[in-house]
């Protein structure tokens, strides 16, 4: 009963500090708990749940990009403290995603939102940055065994380049194993057929929803 109450208190304290973006409080609580012999896996689960709440609040427009980035930073620093205390088996990811903004395009806000939200859902995310050549997406996907490649493109002039990613995946012989999603404000549904991608979305939240559905095995390619 006492242990349950204290677990509840820990969850409440950590979640509240995370949601109010208090990085020092989160780190302090994590350190104190680990010093007292606390369970690293439990701390990570609480923070992951908190990050999911952050993601939902972003979806509901109660939180904003700055909150998402700050929460990501808190998570990163807290995980660095927790990680040495985790057993190897305790860190299984939901899925592996390679993300990047396509060559010729330097906009990364949408990509960064997707990245933060996927991390909060327990995905392993490999962010290639901006202005990424099509071949680099494929090299990385092969190297890390990614199930999903996410291509971001804001400029209307760079959207067609996603076709080169598809071609490179086919040449590498891994197209059947990898789903490709393109995201960007000017992306249209017809781009799915036009460029042979598996999904095309206008908004980051919608993109994350699709990637999650693929990870759960309910995607269009099943």
């Amino acid at each position: 009963m006492k242990a349950g109450a204290s677990a509840e208190k820990l969850e409440e304290e950590l979640t509240s500090s995370l949601l109010s973006m208090d990085i020092e409080a989160v780190k302090r609580t994590v350190r104190d708990n680990l010093e007292r012999g606390g369970d690293a896996q439990q701390l990570l689960s609480i923070l992951m749940n908190g990050m999911r709440m952050v993601g939902r609040k972003f979806e509901d427009q109660e939180f904003f990009l700055a909150d998402l980035i700050m929460a990501g930073e808190i998570m990163k620093q807290a995980t660095a403290i927790i990680k040495p205390h985790l057993s190897a088996s305790g860190t299984e990811s939901t899925g592996t995603v390679v993300l990047g903004t396509i060559m010729g395009d330097l906009h990364d806000i949408g990509k960064d939102i997707v990245k933060s939200m996927l991390l909060s859902e327990g995905f392993e995310v490999h962010d290639l940055g901006t202005d990424v050549a099509p071949a680099v997406f494929v090299q990385k996907a092969r190297e890390v065994g990614a199930e999903v490649v996410g291509v971001s493109a804001l400029l209307t002039t760079t959207i067609p380049r996603v076709k080169e990613v598809i071609d490179e995946l086919e040449t590498a012989g891994i197209r059947p194993e990898v789903k490709v999603i393109i995201g960007g404000a000017a992306v249209r549904q017809r781009d799915v057929a036009l460029y042979g991608v598996d999904a095309a979305v206008n908004d980051a939240v919608g993109g994350v929803r699709i990637i999650k559905s693929w990870a759960r095995g309910t995607g269009a390619k099943q």
Binding site: F64, I69, M103, L106, T156, A186
Partner: protein, 365 residues
């Protein structure tokens, strides 16, 4: 009506003879337009019926002498070339060029590693900084409304993150708020000095701005904007009002609907670009049309690149009919028209807007 009268009439919320027009094109589109009309930029503006002229604040003469004039740097970004791969502007912000050569990347931000106390601010009084702007005002002010821009259009938030780095500044809002306040105060002082110089030149419009929106929502939580940015924007506008009379233009991409009432409250008079994918221009007009002029509104994410000429024409006509009553509308592309847009669509946009006047005049005959 002269070009100038047309713009001034629209800004005063009186019906002009036709909707005033402004421009925003990528250099490649400029080159194609110059080729099509067989002339220079001024001839292109004349052929399209552009009613405004925009002058820019540049770095001082000693920096300009050593500047690197080639693409993708132009307009707001004047740089020196440090090495074949690395470029630096007057603020000490460093850039590399993207894979296609059309855009640049941020490479380093001076306040990543340098404290605010050690940072050397550009000298607003350095010789030559306002020379091209002054020449532009002299050349155009009689016939056109003259707007002034340059880095002042990246007024607070944007310039702050260019100096500090985007993610670092966002984190600072939560973990180091005193630093952000101090940085923004330095920027306020600099912007006030710039604006005073522009007022002394006699510009009609001062272009301020900060990209505060993503396509769907805001970058900063509104309470952070209220705490950090809004008071400085208000102070800047008050300083402008105390010195002279220029209309306050404000640029922000994306969905900033939540902030519009407060932008109007602090004195913004012209809102750009009112991206139709993020804001509904007719709703903005209905709610704020008596105080705010909409500038932009013609989509560069949908209609101009992907629409047919007839769809472009339709967007122009519906925008004028929904948002053009009693002035308060200046049509322009919502950002620089990109290279995938046909010249036919660009020309149709301007032609359609000018035809409305002819139709109106014919009806009145």
């Amino acid at each position: 009506m002269s070009h100038r009268e047309r713009v001034m009439s629209a800004l005063s919320h009186r019906q002009p003879d036709r909707v005033p027009l402004d421009e925003a094109f990528r250099p490649e589109i400029w080159a194609r337009l110059k080729q099509r009309f067989q002339g220079d930029e001024e001839l292109v503006r004349d052929k399209l019926g552009i009613d405004l002229r925009t002058v820019l604040i540049h770095p001082p003469a000693r920096f300009m002498k050593k500047s690197w004039p080639s693409a993708p740097f132009s307009g707001f970004r004047t740089v020196r070339r440090l090495s074949p791969e690395l470029y630096e502007d007057e603020w000490g912000i460093r850039y590399t060029i993207g894979a296609t050569g059309r855009y640049w990347h941020f490479h380093t931000h001076p306040l990543e590693h340098c404290s605010l106390d050690d940072y050397n601010w550009p000298d607003v009084d350095a010789p030559g900084r306002f020379d091209t702007a002054a020449a532009g005002v002299d050349r155009w002010r009689e016939d056109y409304a003259v707007a002034a821009g340059g880095d002042i259009e990246e007024t607070f938030f944007e310039q702050a993150w260019y100096l500090r780095g985007f993610r670092a500044l966002l984190r600072d809002f939560y973990t180091n708020p005193n630093f952000v306040h101090e940085l923004l105060d330095c920027l306020l002082e600099y912007r006030v000095a710039q604006a005073r110089k522009l007022l002394d030149l006699g510009v009609d419009i001062i272009r301020l701005g900060d990209d505060l929106g993503t396509q769907q929502t805001l970058i900063l939580p509104p309470e952070l904007w209220r705490q950090f940015i809004k008071p400085r924007l208000q102070a800047l506008i008050q300083a402008i009002r105390a010195r002279g009379r220029a209309r306050i233009f404000y640029h922000s991409d994306g969905n900033i609907r939540q902030l519009i009432p407060e932008l109007v409250e602090v004195g913004v008079e012209i809102l750009n670009p009112v991206q139709p994918e993020s804001l509904r221009p007719q709703e903005v007009k209905a709610a704020f049309g008596d105080r705010l002029t909409l500038h932009g509104t013609i989509s560069i994410q949908r209609t101009l690149p992907f629409g047919t000429p007839s769809e472009v024409r339709q967007e122009v006509l519906s925008r004028i009919s929904d948002c053009g009553s009693n002035g308060g509308l200046i049509l322009a592309p919502t950002h620089a028209v990109q290279t995938d847009t046909s010249l036919e669509n660009v020309i149709t946009m301007y032609q359609a807007a000018r035809e409305i006047r002819q139709e109106r005049q014919e009806r009145n005959r």
